[in-house]
């Protein structure tokens, strides 16, 4: 039961990464690209969680936690860079 649902969800998540990539490549402004990267990271985290579910291992929790915390690091740095012209002043 879990297996089949997980497979379906994984395919859906996989497909959901394509718009993010499209936005990264196409995105009119840098802000779009940043948001798309964020969306991509979240999708990746979702896939990793699902995979660790199906394989019944807890090894990937560190990776997921790291992505959760640091996912916003890039966004914040870029946001400040856009406004201030330098990320760390």
């Amino acid at each position: 039961m879990i297996e089949t649902v997980a497979q379906v969800c994984l395919i859906a998540l996989g497909l959901s990464m394509l718009p993010a990539i499209y936005r990264i490549v196409q995105g009119p402004s840098v802000a779009d690209r940043v948001i798309a990267t964020d969306a991509l990271v979240t999708a990746i985290m979702a896939i990793v969680i699902l995979v660790s579910l199906t394989r019944n291992t807890r090894e990937y929790m560190e990776a997921v936690m790291a992505m959760a915390i640091l996912g916003f690091f890039g966004t914040v740095a870029l946001a400040k860079y856009l406004v201030k012209g330098r990320a760390i002043d």
Binding site: I2, I35, A43, I49, R58, G71, V83
Partner: protein, 118 residues
């Protein structure tokens, strides 16, 4: 029983993440796309993590990391979204024509007027 909960949680999680992705394409300008990704993806992730927590919790693992991750995601994603929105506006990325009102601008005028009056 556990399996049912896990499946439902997974399904909800995936649904929201996919929704976020769809919003990313369909919505006209940066600010609206912002809502899609930050809000729905965070919710989707929470769903996923609950599913994992339930599954591993049932097997007796300590589910601390999952809950902690949910907390982190809820803490960081909104802040990221806020910062991006603020800087997009500040560097002058135009709102799409569909938008009805630019609240920031009027608030800005009020602030300037208040400022001038002193």
């Amino acid at each position: 029983m556990i399996e049912a909960i896990v499946c439902i949680a997974m399904a909800i999680g995936t649904f929201f993440v996919v929704l976020g992705a769809v919003g990313l394409i369909r919505l006209p300008d940066v600010y609206s796309r912002l809502h899609a990704t930050t809000k729905s993806s965070t919710l989707g992730l929470a769903g996923m993590l609950i599913a994992s927590a339930v599954l591993f919790g049932a097997q007796g693992y300590n589910v601390g990391p999952e809950l902690l991750t949910i907390l982190f995601v809820f803490l960081t994603n909104p802040v990221g979204g806020h910062m991006i929105a603020r800087s997009a506006y500040l560097i002058g990325i135009p709102l799409s024509e569909l938008s009805v009102m630019d609240a920031m601008q009027r608030a800005g005028e009020h602030a300037d007027q208040a400022h001038d009056q002193q």
